[in-house]
Amino acid sequence: MNLKKRAGALNKKLLIGAIIFFVILIVSFAYPPFSKRDPLEMEGMMFEPPSSLYPLGTDNFGRDVLTELIFGTKTSITIGFIAGSIATLIGTTIGVFAGYCGGNTDNILNTITNIFLVIPPILILIVISVSIQSRSILIMSLILGITSWPWTARAIRAQAQSLRNREHIKMAKLNGESLAEIIAFEVLPYLASYIVMAFILQVSTGILNEAAMSMLGLGPTDTVSLGTMLEWALLFESARIGAWWAFIPPGLAITMITFSLYLANSGMDEIVNPRLRGVV
């Protein structure tokens, strides 16, 4: 059985996950430029229930929840993407060097990784965020990205280690290729699927952490995100008031985004590791 055939055999989980995610992505990115509404504008009364004017009601400031939801999803996904890219980049670099080089390089990098793996990232996030008074989307992504690389490094290291003794790498050395060439051509292609999987998970981690930080009051300060929507819903006790439209839409949006990403990741995992599929 070859790789192409395996990938070609359409994986349902991957497909469904990807479709859900792209629908959300397209809606949240295509709508804002055409929208005449400003998500931060207070139009109506506090907690107005859904109506034709406000399809998902209004929030505690009388802002249109639907508009907020779409703009917020865009913000959250953007933060997730940037944070995920940063985390994946750092994690992959550290993981590849630790796993491929071995020896002392590995000892040092692996110790660092393990230390940051047991220190809860949210605590570091809090310490950093408390110190930064105004947090833009970019700052937020940066903070989230540089605190969540460790487990990517760990996963990639394990994969890189298993490659280290493969003979094509010895052959590449015997061809006189440099370390950079070997990593680029002999190591990274084999890790590509794992890196993509790690990236998918990192994007969802970024989105989840943004929301968590926002709910603690440490979210982005100048825009609306799914997290800040939940923050306000929480602060103004919308659940106890019964204003379900203030928290269910952003909560559901986060859940659907992360669910679609987990599903896609699990589908990819099955393509890469056929035994999970339940046939081998």
Partner: protein
């Protein structure tokens, strides 16, 4: 006849298609006999070992044919009965990869107890005594009983596995490449132990599977040669080595290297190509593409027929 395998077929059913790893295989084993099954990687010999004990872990599936053990058709046993009444007690198995065949978190003693408990009701003391005896027979010290798999060397692990597999004195032992992971010195020790257990009557019959024909020559009374899921030749060991009737058997024997018999450097026969893809249905001789003797006539279905007291799947006979 202790074991009779009739027209047995088994396939791996994958989303990409069906791989017929064992195709219409028939043979038998008598009491007191060692049958060797020889073949190269991917020919289906390990799958055959599973199929004989009528366990088909998915995606392996029983496609057709039957296995009769002492006249009883294993098809009539359900999974539970099979394990309770046949496996471990009547038919036992020595796996190929002893490295990973012992549960890493259980002591040898506990694995032995689990095997006893699955089949009989005796006191823990008696279990311990019996396990100790069996280890002793394999020249393993009692202390091994308290060890975990990681504490044993490769050769020791394989002997422990043999001890466990023969714990209940099975009638038939199936040994699947019992030494392929070992160095020559350990290999010889392990095979000697197996032969000793057989002579001592710990088990009555054995099927030993190997890709090394030379090992079978020293152990087996009869040898079955397997190629691409089919048996191509079955006969007494001496006669097969003396005068192979199937061209593949001939190639296998020819490829045996032995120190001291220095062949002219260029004269070891070699086969071109590779065995056919078992996902495809081949209706003619499966060895056709690689056979140095093949001609137009060969491109048709070859049956396993009796010739000179042997079974051969080639109609060309002695002119090869």
């Amino acid at each position: 006849m202790m074991l009779e395998v009739k027209d047995l077929s088994a396939s791996y059913v994958l989303p990409e298609g069906e791989i017929r790893a064992v195709d219409d295989v028939s043979f038998s084993v008598d009491e007191g006999e060692i049958l060797g099954i020889a073949g190269e990687s991917g020919c289906g010999k390990s799958t055959l070992a599973f199929s004989i004990s009528f366990l088909f872990p998915p995606p392996l599936r029983h496609v057709g044919g039957s296995v009769l053990f002492n006249g009883k058709d294993l098809k009539n046993f359900n999974d539970r009965e099979l394990r309770k009444e046949i496996l471990g007690t009547k038919i036992s198995y020595v796996p190929q990869s002893s490295m990973n065949s012992l549960n890493p978190t259980r002591r040898v003693k506990d694995i032995a107890f689990d095997i006893f408990r699955a089949h009989m009701d005796i006191s823990e003391k008696e279990m311990y005594e019996r396990a100790k005896e069996r280890l002793d027979l394999l020249s393993l010290p009692e202390s091994v009983l308290n060890m975990y798999s990681v504490e044993l060397s490769g050769g020791m692990k394989q002997r422990v596995v043999i001890a466990l597999s023969t714990l209940l004195g099975p009638e038939l032992l199936i040994a699947d490449e019992p030494t392929s992971a070992l160095d020559v010195s350990s290999q010889r020790i392990v095979l000697k132990e197996l032969k000793k257990l057989f002579k001592d009557g710990v088990f009555k019959s054995m099927i030993i599977i190997s890709h090394e024909l030379i090992i079978l020559k020293h152990l087996a009374h009869r040898i079955a040669i397997m190629y691409a899921g089919e048996l191509v030749e079955v006969g007494e060991t001496e006669r097969i080595f003396k005068e192979p009737l199937h061209p593949y058997t001939k190639a296998l024997i020819g490829s045996v290297l032995e120190p001291g018999k220095r062949v002219e450097r260029e004269k070891i026969p070699s086969l071109p190509g590779a065995p056919p893809d078992l996902r495809e249905k081949i209706t003619w001789c499966r060895f056709y593409d690689r056979c140095p003797f093949a001609d137009e006539k060969c491109k048709r279905k070859q049956e396993l027929v009796e010739r000179d007291g042997r079974l051969v799947r080639c109609e060309r006979g002695k002119d090869i």
